[in-house]
């Protein structure tokens, strides 16, 4: 099995303050990986690095055969303006952007796919509702439907289950399993270790630096969790700058 992603001594950060230090590792094509770690461990930062929106301070990410267009990214929920008067179906249809671009119209075949995506996240009947009338869980379902339409080889999910009800989590985990079954690579930032143990074969634990990466049962040990907390506490003092840290 080839690699979808390879992190090579990757350092990422904001304004020269690193949030992730010297990360090395590979994400296999078709793997289903959870990214876990304490708050401020750089989990979201890694996903932003993979989307290409954040340039590495040092090191690099090798994308193998993947291009930018093969990557779909679901950021933390707050980014969607839920007061914007757009219908659920229109929001979901934007997942087709790479096929229809900014200007060409939706064909009948596209509409069928939009309807199918909406029904596979359990939102039938909500097509014409403005997104402002949806609950947090329903919004998340709609965003998953949009991801389905993006038809991406690599799916990045940043805390997709925060503030989402149990039933929605179960249904959306079904969508993730479906992606896994279709051979897509999935990388998800998660907090709930029970969910990770039950559904994610592989785990990458971060505490700014890599703590452990491998089969979930070997990564999510009490010892690793303790170490991760310690590492994060150690680095929560005055922030490093890149040059000084290297010295």
């Amino acid at each position: 099995m080839s690699n979808a992603l390879e992190f090579r001594d990757l350092t990422l950060g904001y304004d020269r303050h690193p949030a992730v230090l010297s990360l090395c590792g590979t994400i296999a094509e078709g793997s289903l990986t959870a990214v876990v770690g304490p708050n401020g461990a750089g989990k979201s930062t890694v996903l932003k690095g993979v989307t290409g929106n954040l340039r590495p301070i040092a090191g690099q990410i090798d994308f193998g055969e993947l291009s930018r267009d093969d990557i779909a990214y679901l950021p933390q929920q707050s980014e969607v303006d839920r007061s914007f008067p757009i219908a659920v179906a229109d929001l979901v249809a934007m997942g087709l952007w790479r096929e229809i671009g900014g200007f060409s119209g939706l064909r009948a075949a596209h509409r069928v796919r939009v309807a199918a995506a909406i029904s596979s996240v359990g939102l039938e009947g909500f097509e014409k509702r403005p997104i402002g009338t949806l609950s947090g869980g329903q919004i998340q379902r709609a965003l998953f439907a949009r991801l389905l339409l993006q038809d991406a080889r690599l799916v990045l999910l940043d805390e997709p289950f925060t503030a989402v009800d149990m039933k929605t989590v179960a249904d959306l985990l079904g969508v993730i399993r479906r992606w896994h079954g279709e051979g897509r690579t999935v990388l998800a930032v998660l907090h709930d270790f029970d969910t990770v143990r039950a559904h994610f074969p592989r785990t990458l634990m971060l505490a700014r630096e890599l703590v452990a990466h491998g089969p979930t049962s070997q990564v999510l040990t009490a010892e690793n969790q303790f170490r991760a907390r310690q590492m994060c506490e150690a680095c929560s003092g005055p922030p490093h700058t890149c040059g000084r840290h290297a010295a």
Binding site: A72, Y73, E79, F84, P85, L91, M94, W97, G102, I131
Partner: protein, 289 residues
């Protein structure tokens, strides 16, 4: 009676017909832009840009007198300069967009008032600030109608990127490189429509016909397409009623038109079914909508 009040002024005087056509052109062009301004939480940006246009128009006035072309070009240059500078400062420094825009438009406004008041008479200042909707000549009509056409066409082309830029900018950036282009094209449309508006309504009032009908429409319909249609209709009705009131009661026409739109806004605020005061106070009556 109704005939005399509503139709007679338009039937008798060509300046009234011209004023109405000019206002319709502005309503069709500027109001949809205003809907997007409102939805992007940039309503006050429109106001700032309107002030920023002043020095350009003033310089145009200094060079060529009350020349339509010179004032239009000057206004466009000043407006675009402020928009680009503010965007640039936001991207390269720690200052946020509202603060950098405020800084530049205030500088720009001061320069404009300085130029107009040192070199022109008070009448000229009034012309620039309050417009001359009752004295639109052929060139001005052609300009207003051209800008309205360009604006509608550009919005039709930009519609999808613009909607997505408002609703979920991060997603737009993740799938396309159109984000920055969309933002600046939209700002250009704002400036273009404000320049059109200032010929008729003046720099201070031009932004009113953009924002007030858009804010009113928000209370009537839940979807963006319908919102644009309703806001244009409100803008045209406000223009008509404002012109008629200014004719019958000898009021200045620019403020009368904007007050018409303001009246529509207050009515919508109270009675609008989508989140209006009455709908909030008596929710059961509106459950079916």
């Amino acid at each position: 009676m109704m005939w005399e009040f509503l139709i007679q002024p338009l039937a008798d005087f060509s300046f009234m017909r011209r004023a109405l056509l000019g206002c319709i052109a502005i309503s069709v062009g500027a109001t949809p832009v205003g809907v997007f301004l409102m939805l992007r939480r940039m309503s006050l940006t429109g106001d700032a840009m309107a002030h920023a246009i002043l020095p350009g128009a003033a310089v145009g006035f200094l060079i060529a007198g009350l020349s339509l072309g010179a004032m239009t070009v000057g206004g466009l240059i000043a407006g675009m300069t402020v928009a680009l500078l503010a965007g640039f400062v936001t991207r390269v420094t720690a200052l946020r967009e509202d603060a950098s825009l405020a800084a530049f438009y205030l500088i720009s406004l001061a320069v404009g008032v300085l130029i107009v008041s040192t070199r022109g008479s008070n009448v000229d200042l009034m012309h620039v600030l309050f417009g001359t909707v009752l004295a639109l000549d052929d060139d001005a009509m052609i300009l207003l109608c051209s800008i309205a056409s360009i604006s509608v066409f550009a919005l039709a082309v930009l519609y999808r990127p613009l909607v997505l830029e408002c609703a979920d900018p991060q997603f737009l950036r993740s799938v396309s490189r159109l984000s920055a282009m969309t933002h600046f094209a939209f700002l250009a449309l704002v400036v273009l429509n404000l320049v059109a508006g200032f010929h008729a309504l003046g720099t201070l009032m031009a932004v009113g016909i953009m924002i007030l009908p858009a804010a009113a429409a928000r209370f009537w319909v839940p979807s963006i397409g319908a919102m644009i249609t309703v806001s244009v209709a409100i803008a045209i009705l406000s223009s008509l009623s404002g012109l008629l009131l200014s004719y019958h009661f000898s009021l200045p026409s620019g403020p009368a038109i904007i007050l018409g739109a303001g009246f529509a806004y207050v009515l919508s605020l109270v009675f609008g079914p989508v989140g209006g005061l009455a709908a909030r106070a008596f929710p059961s009556r509106y459950l079916e909508t």
